[in-house]
Symmetry: C2
Subunit: 114 residues, 2 copies
DNA sequence: TTTAAATACCTTGTATCGCAAAGTATTATT
DNA sequence: AATAATACTTTGCGATACAAGGTATTTAAA
């Protein structure tokens, strides 16, 4: 059973307003496959702090929407890692997010002009 | 009783991620006093759709945080209007939001560079 | 051999937000 | 009076972000 954000297109912008984290995650994974802990490190470096309790459900949601897939890989130390990849559908979503983000940035520029 | 976002400064950015509506409202009111229906119209023109059920609680929250004040004014037609004004504290908050927004936009630019 | 440390994934409960929908109130028009 | 137009408010729901705690695997130390 899917939720309200499956029709896509029309409400990408509405969702964008709620937070940019989904956009961040897809952007990161568009460049390179990664696992949760490494994504957290990358976001921390970019000063966009995220904690595990936020990221794991988010990755699961994006996977359930078909934007991501994953595979297990051995780690040099510790338990195996769940590497996520962006899918074709994820790349299309990312393209829509780019447009929505651009519009929001332009709107804010307009609103902030005195 | 205040909530988690009263310490200010540290979490402006975290809040910003949740949505840009607060930023929009303060931006609009920084230019000119306005009442709810006129704010909705202005946001609609800027393609940032907001409905009453979103805006009214938001205005009340910002008023409770001391970012806004209001006064009643007669309307040429219909019931009186509640005109909101941004306060000094609201302007300081807006300045912090400007910084937080700038950082988020820069972060997204970085993350979207292939 | 047990214990601890490091790494990694996952879940639960809470506060908050955005929205649809319904409700209340005032004024002007019919 | 009844209706329309305007404006403010509240309720209930679904979704998000986070703190906190939990589970599991591997390696190193005691």
């Amino acid at each position: 059973m899917e939720t309200y954000d499956t029709n896509n297109q029309d409400n990408v912008k509405a969702q964008m307003r709620k937070g940019v984290l989904d956009y961040c995650i897809l952007s990161i994974l568009a460049k390179k496959d990664a696992y949760a802990s490494s994504i957290i490190k990358e976001l921390k470096d970019a000063k966009m702090i995220v904690v595990e309790g936020t990221l794991y459900p988010l990755l699961i949601r994006e996977k359930n929407q078909g934007f991501l897939s994953y595979r297990w890989e051995e780690s040099p130390q510790g338990p195996p890692r769940k590497y996520y990849s962006i899918t074709e559908k994820g790349r299309r979503q990312l393209a829509e997010m780019d447009l929505a983000w651009k519009e929001i940035v332009e709107t804010m520029n307009l609103l902030r002009q005195q």
